[in-house]
Amino acid sequence: MLEMLNKILIQNGLVTAFACVGIAMWLAGVVSRKLTFGHVHGSAIAIMIGLGLAYFGGTVTGGTKGLADFPLLAGIGLMGGAMFRDFAIVATAFEVQASEARKAGMIGVLSLLLGTVIPFVIGAAIARAFGYTDAVSMTTIGAGAVTYIVGPITGAAIGASSDVMALSIATGLIKAIIVMVGTPFAARFMGLKTPRSAMIFGGLAGTVSGVSAGLAATDRRLVPYGALVATFHTGIGCLLGPSVLFLATRALVG
């Protein structure tokens, strides 16, 4: 019986992965509502569960691919692999309304650029200070400080090692959590009270989940303005990370 089930789960790896990720996200939603009272976004908790399970998988199997090293969960490797990841990320571009984006104006564009370059420079500099002195690792960790999507996309494009990629995701994830939890407390300091300030916030704070959760916890009316700009964040980061920012980093550190 158990062997039969095992065989089916292994033969249908991708479908097994859909089911497992669904369960993980449902659990994350419950934790988000019941334990954090919605203060920490469900998706952030789901990603933390994923990273936690990857840690568990890495410790148990001694492999480098986290949960995907269990034969039963190899489908997670396909679902979270480069093909599906890039496909889903390209699809999110569809949510960008060009007409609304034009209304966001120059300040939105400026804050988007600053929101990409500032975290990148800080992340890359700290990475270098901690001994990641090669251009590929510095760029990947710097890109991770932009968002947890830009980090691995950039890392994959320029050939970073898996542990640097994980570090880059961890950096982006910690930043997203800081934005989600910290925004309501820092709202007064940031002057976060008008649509314009929300758009500036969306460009600079990055990550759609961080921005939308952070703004929702501050003032529900701010959310669409911030999220509108933030949806550009990943695209611009993915465009600049492996190209301009990588080349600039390489030119600086050799």
């Binding site: 999110t92 961890a170 704070a205």
Partner: protein, 136 residues
């Protein structure tokens, strides 16, 4: 048909990655340069073009929308694939760069939102009330 949307997405994805590889070869980088970003820009412009031509019915949009909605689950699966054990050896790097980046951005937001003229305002309250579902 829903497959038209997914095929459009696939076309942009493949073309973007191809152009990214081409760009990489052109500037002498042994990697894909901005392929995903190029694909996203292509999709944005194609969507506007097809919308104007009236060639973007709801069903076609759903063929892209589904994959956009799958983005967080895919990222969760991606997180579960990472070499976290190795990453934790460099723990302070992630923590410090995240905190420093967030702090610096908060300061720039504070400066930018107080600079210049801010003539934006929210729509009157009654326009917004009950139009959105409650959080949680």
């Amino acid at each position: 048909m829903i497959i038209y949307g997914t095929a459009l997405l696939a076309f942009c994805h493949l073309m973007g990655l191809f152009l990214g590889d081409l760009l990489g070869a052109l500037i002498g980088v042994k990697s894909n340069v901005g392929g995903v970003g190029i694909a996203m820009l292509m999709l944005i412009f194609l969507k506007i073009y097809l919308h104007k031509k009236g060639l973007m019915p709801k069903e076609t949009e759903a063929g892209v929308g589904f994959w956009g909605a799958m983005y967080i689950p895919v990222v969760v699966a991606m997180a579960a694939n990472q070499n976290v054990v190795a990453a934790l050896k460099g723990g302070p790097v992630a923590l410090l760069s995240a905190f420093a980046a967030a702090a610096a951005c908060a300061c720039v937001i504070a400066a930018l939102s107080r600079s210049g003229r801010d003539d934006t305002a929210f729509a009157p309250e009654h326009h917004l009330e009950f139009t959105e579902e409650e959080d949680i």
